[in-house]
């Protein structure tokens, strides 16, 4: 077998930042992320956010599928597992997704290089730069959060880096 370690840029540090070209990118620590699935879950969390809704607050839920939400920023009342009384399946996902924030006047230009984002959607789940993500706005129109499977965090970071560098091109 071949030693390919030099073919792959070592994983950037958690504190790494991209700042320039009218856009800022950084990783944030999500204290809690919980997957909650069930036939009535979306009705049970009606204040969840889709696209291009603007989520706000220290904790919130995101519509991911017709029968699943992701709770961000707070622990869920029910422990992990299946709950027959409420009809909910709960799994911790705190470490499963890395969370990035992209903000600034060129934030949208960066993201427009990763997917066709114009159409509104019930769900925040989509492909961005080829990776499965949850993409939504947070607290303002020009501020976006992206959750990506942790194993793809480095590759998504590099994709965002490339897109930031390109954003000045007319």
């Amino acid at each position: 077998m071949r030693d390919d370690r030099s073919n792959w840029t070592p994983i950037r540090k958690h504190e790494a930042q991209i700042d320039g070209h009218g856009v800022k990118v950084g990783q944030i620590s999500a204290e809690h992320q919980v997957l909650i699935s069930g036939p009535t879950v979306c009705a049970a969390f009606p204040d969840s956010f889709g696209w291009p809704d603007i989520a706000a607050g220290p904790f919130y839920t995101l519509f991911v599928r017709r029968d699943r939400v992701l709770l961000v920023g707070a622990a869920h009342s029910e422990p992990e597992g299946w709950h027959s009384e409420t009809g909910r399946a709960v799994s911790d996902a705190t470490g499963a997704y890395e969370v990035f924030e992209v903000s600034g006047k060129n934030a949208r230009s960066v993201l427009d290089q990763g997917g066709e984002l114009h159409a509104p959607s019930n769900s925040v789940a989509r492909l961005l730069f080829g990776f499965g993500v949850f993409l939504y706005r947070y607290e303002s129109e020009d501020r976006y959060r992206i959750h990506v499977a942790r194993a793809h965090g480095q590759a998504l970071w590099q994709s965002l880096e490339g897109a930031c560098n390109a954003v000045d091109a007319p």
Partner: protein, 933 residues
């Protein structure tokens, strides 16, 4: 007598001078020039050599419809082949060379080919050069074909920025009609994007001094202001090169010769096509001589570039706008004779340049012949979108007819050639109002092809296809327009028939005695003009071309000098401590068998399946019976495809009545999640089964070996690790530094193993503590290479390596569920087919080699019989030198292998023959004493 720069006029910046060379000679031009306009201004005529006959050629026209002047250009370090001179903006320091000519366009050594033109007519390679053997001639002919050449190495980092975009209205074409439509629509509140391929807007407006009574520059500035003020966007140097499915438009924006163009994938709600029209060349004798040009092209060179294409011109053009264009050229100082040949076939005189025009008995002295058989609307985008064309016999052109609702043509592109008509039409269409009736009456004189002469009349300039070739094709019975195209190669060059298609159809129509529309129209496919391949190279390059999944413990592995490689889509440690792979792996194997090995098993799947129907569901998914699995227990199992082949192996753990964790193999996690979701929603009740992929929420540190228990004990996980309390294939919950830990006794090595899964936040600490605990016992980290050997010693298979696309569980020694499992499961019927029941199926066996022999090559064939009866009956799937057993081991798929245990078998590989003996797959601790310790 050749072209020259006019004293005034043009959109060039005369205050700055740009220097360049063409075929080694120095010239200069101005910003705003193309290479074509700058060369004409310098009096250069010959700018290229035709593809087949190497005839001298000049430009035909001023923009993308020129088929002749194609250059290889170098600027600094950047080299680009096949640049069209008429659309390449001049930049200081460019070095251009005409393609397909040596040493220069002016003096090409292959011009002698023209003398042999009789042997090079359409389809010549099917008929000439056949005897004695086509292959004698093929290499030479192939070498002579082609235009530009690549120079230098690849531009490693060259790529294009690619973005998605959206608007209410995309207006393609920034001429008069497009500008008017965009301004009107923008002011009416639509989000408008206007694109134009020129650097400066205006289209053909620059051919006249005014638009709608205003100086052209002022009028354009006014529309631009209206558009911007209303929030519209204007993209210049941007070509809409294609319309794709579901109304997606490809836009290519140029940023300069040394920059990469950028790609915009635009999804407009509506599109207005204001792409204009171009001249249809007149077909006559010697119509390719340098100096025969498009009338519109000449007007464009004058208006946009301030260049006169010649001093004395004959003009053959009889259509609604010709008079205007002729008058413009006369105002610029050209001496013009308007000629109407009627039935006579005109002939251009001269070879390297036009010296005159012969029409019947009359000879006109001139240095330029400007022709137009009429204006042709540029309808490519219309056709990409599925729109139909009609033949307008007044205009002698194809015009857009019925088309999709979201796209409308205006201006010359729609056949509206009069400026006032175009303005009124643009205003109406932009606001969705009805298209007004045209006031002006544009028509063009029909120009049927003159057949059966001995004259050479060019139809496709770029591919050197003449009227005689079309006549030849017709004689050889290629009567459909698609056959005509492919047999003669008419319309197949880089210009894609922009100037040749209609001329070709006209010739076919004359040959068949039909009207042009009866003969047919051609298919237009994107891209509309050539776009560089770099346009399609976006961010998927380098590390992002096939990004590997990364471990959260990667920094720890790198710090331990791990060699990293791809294993099942992840970047994982192959071996530690640097150095030689085989030696390091052997060392790690010995360590794992003697004390313990510690490895990062994080990629192992951890897919939770929950719900009231979870048990029924996993029992259906798995080959093995899972319904009887008790909480706290783990079972090994296969997932099959419906045809009965093994898709994945792995273990499943039961947490409680309604909760399972599917721990499939690392490389198949996404596939298994897909498989589970598909069955969950299609064939089961998705309200009673839920699948959560938590693989990446739980990094896993595995300790395996005789000292594994001792090492885990030092971590104080709060679990009773004694073998009586914690048996093989069970799991327990514990805690590490206050966080939950799941510990499973599953072994891939055949020694006692503990797989510890913890949250990401504790992973580094858990790994570090485990390594630290192992150090005093001489236990340490092991990588994937060592792991591969350890599992092979035990006969544990790797899906896709020791199985192929047809291997079924009973081939691997797991035959019971096939015979006994009553409940339905995926692949059940597939296991009962004729094929599944065949007795000669390939089965997984072990192979041993004679004492002292080398290890077998992986992939070597197992061979039975000899001579005529010799055939392959299997192949080696895994092969290693076992440090534990001090001899080579191998696994193989062998026909009827299980019944032939103990037998010798021939092994064949790359001409070499070996001998091996069939043995059980498990060579290490077959009783399982170590495993159950």
């Amino acid at each position: 007598m050749t072209g020259f720069r006019l004293g005034t006029g043009g959109r060039i910046d005369r205050s700055r001078v740009l220097n360049f060379t063409f075929d080694g000679t120095r010239y200069s031009g101005h910003p705003g020039d193309t290479l074509a306009s700058a060369l004409i201004a310098n009096g250069v005529r010959i700018m290229g050599r035709s593809f087949k006959y190497h005839r001298p050629r000049s430009v035909w026209s001023a923009w993308f419809d020129d088929p002749n002047a194609i250059f290889n250009i170098r600027l600094g370090d950047v080299h680009r082949p096949n640049c069209p001179a008429a659309t390449t903006l001049l930049e200081d320091g460019m070095h251009a060379r005409a393609v397909n000519s040596f040493p220069s366009a002016a003096r090409d050594i292959k011009s002698v080919l023209d003398l042999g033109h009789r042997f090079l007519s359409a389809g010549f390679y099917y008929k000439m050069f056949m005897w004695p053997d086509w292959h004698l001639f093929e290499p030479t002919i192939r070498k002579m074909a082609g235009l530009g050449a690549l120079e230098g190495g690849p531009l490693e980092d060259s790529h294009s920025t690619q973005r998605f975009d959206h608007c209410d209205l995309l207006v393609v074409g920034g001429g008069v009609a497009g500008l008017q439509a965009a301004a009107t629509a923008a002011e009416a509140g639509q989000s408008v994007v206007l694109v134009d391929d020129h650097a400066e807007l205006g289209g053909k407006a620059w051919q006249s001094p005014t638009v709608d009574g205003h100086p052209v520059a002022d009028w354009i500035a006014e529309q631009t202001k209206r558009i911007s003020a209303a929030g519209g966007r204007i993209l210049t140097r941007t070509t809409a090169f294609g319309i794709y499915d579901h109304a997606m438009v490809g836009l290519c924006t140029e940023h300069g010769f040394c920059e990469q163009p950028s790609l915009t994938r635009m999804r407009p709600e509506k599109l207005i096509m204001a792409t204009g029209a171009l001249d249809r060349p007149l077909t006559f004798a010697q119509n390719d001589v340098p100096g025969v040009m498009s009338l519109d092209g000449a007007a464009e060179f004058a208006g946009r570039y301030g260049v006169a294409v010649g001093r004395r011109a004959c003009v053959i053009a009889d259509h609604g706008l010709a008079e205007q264009q002729i008058s413009t050229l006369r105002d610029e100082g050209l001496d013009i004779d308007v000629v109407e040949p009627k039935d006579a076939l005109p002939k251009a005189m001269g070879r390297r340049a036009v010296t005159g025009l012969q029409v019947g008995p009359h000879h006109f002295t001139c240095d330029t012949v400007l022709t137009s058989a009429g204006l042709m609307p540029i309808v490519h985008l219309w056709r990409h979108a599925g729109g139909k064309l009609d033949w307008d016999s007044n205009a002698q052109a194809f015009v857009p007819a019925a088309g999709p609702a979201w796209i409308t043509a205006i201006g010359a592109a729609a056949g509206t050639f009069d400026l006032d008509d175009a303005l009124a039409e643009a205003t109406a269409v932009a606001t969705g109002a009805a298209r007004p009736r045209r006031k002006a009456d544009y028509c063009a004189r029909p120009r049927p092809a003159v057949l059966g002469t001995s004259q050479r009349q060019w139809i496709d300039f770029q591919h050197d296809v003449t009227l005689k070739d079309v006549e030849l094709a017709a004689r050889e019975n290629y009567v459909s327009v698609e056959h005509l195209k492919r047999y003669t190669t008419l319309g197949m060059a880089s210009d894609q028939g922009k100037t040749s298609n209609v001329a070709g159809l006209s010739a076919m129509a004359a040959l068949q005695g039909k009207e042009i529309p009866e003969v047919g129209t051609t298919t237009f496919r994107p891209p509309f003009v050539p776009v560089p391949l770099e346009l399609y190279r976006g961010h998927h390059r380098g590390e992002l071309f096939h990004p590997l999944k990364r471990l959260c413990l990667e920094p720890q592995h790198r710090a331990a000098d791990a060699a990293m490689g791809e294993y099942g889509g992840w970047l994982r440690p192959g071996w530690y401590g640097g150095g030689d792979a085989d030696q390091a792996a052997a060392r790690e194997v010995r360590m794992a068998r003697t004390t313990a090995g510690i490895f990062d098993a994080s990629p192992l799947g951890k897919i939770e399946v929950m719900g009231p129907d979870a048990e029924k569901f996993v029992n259906f998914i798995y080959y093995n019976t899972v319904a009887t699995l008790k909480p706290g227990h783990i079972r090994y199992g296969f997932m099959l495809t419906e045809s009965g082949a093994v898709y994945d192996d792995g273990v499943i753990a039961r947490l409680d009545e309604n909760r399972f964790v599917v721990s499939c193999s690392s490389s198949h996690v996404d596939g298994v999640v897909s498989l589970l979701e598909n069955w969950r929603q299609d064939g089961n009740d998705p309200d009673r089964i839920f699948v959560h992929d938590t693989t990446q929420n739980w990094p896993t540190v595995t300790v395996t070996g005789p000292k594994a228990r001792d090492i885990v004990a030092t971590l104080n996980l709060g679990i009773d690790l004694s073998p009586e309390q914690f048996k093989h294939m069970q799991f327990r919950a514990g805690q590490f530094q206050g966080a939950p830990v799941r510990v499973a006794r599953v072994s891939f090595t055949g020694d006692v193993s503990f797989e510890m899964s913890c949250p990401v936040a504790q992973a580094a600490a858990l790994w570090g503590a485990t390594i630290e605990a192992g150090a005093p016992m001489s236990a340490g980290a092991i990588g994937l290479e060592a792991l591969s050997i350890l599992r092979a010693e035990k006969g544990f298979l790797i899906i896709g390596k020791d199985t192929d696309g047809e291997t079924m569980p009973h081939d691997l020694g797991f035959g019971i569920p096939r015979l006994k499992k009553k409940a339905a499961f995926v692949g059940d019927r597939g296991l009962q087919t004729q094929k599944a029941n065949e007795t000669n199926r390939r089965q997984l066996v072990g192979l041993a080699v004679p004492e002292g022999a080398a290890m077998l090559p992986c992939g070597a064939h197992l061979v039975s019989g000899s001579g005529e009866t010799r055939r392959s009956v299997g192949f080696v799937t895994s092969s290693y030198d076992s440090p534990t057993l001090n001899r080579p081991i191998a696994l193989a798929l062998l026909s009827q292998g299980l019944a032939t245990e103990g037998n010798a078998i021939d092994v064949y590989h790359l001409g070499e023959k070996r001998r091996a003996r069939v043995v059980p797959t498990c060579q290490f601790d077959p009783e399982g004493e170590r495993l159950n310790a």
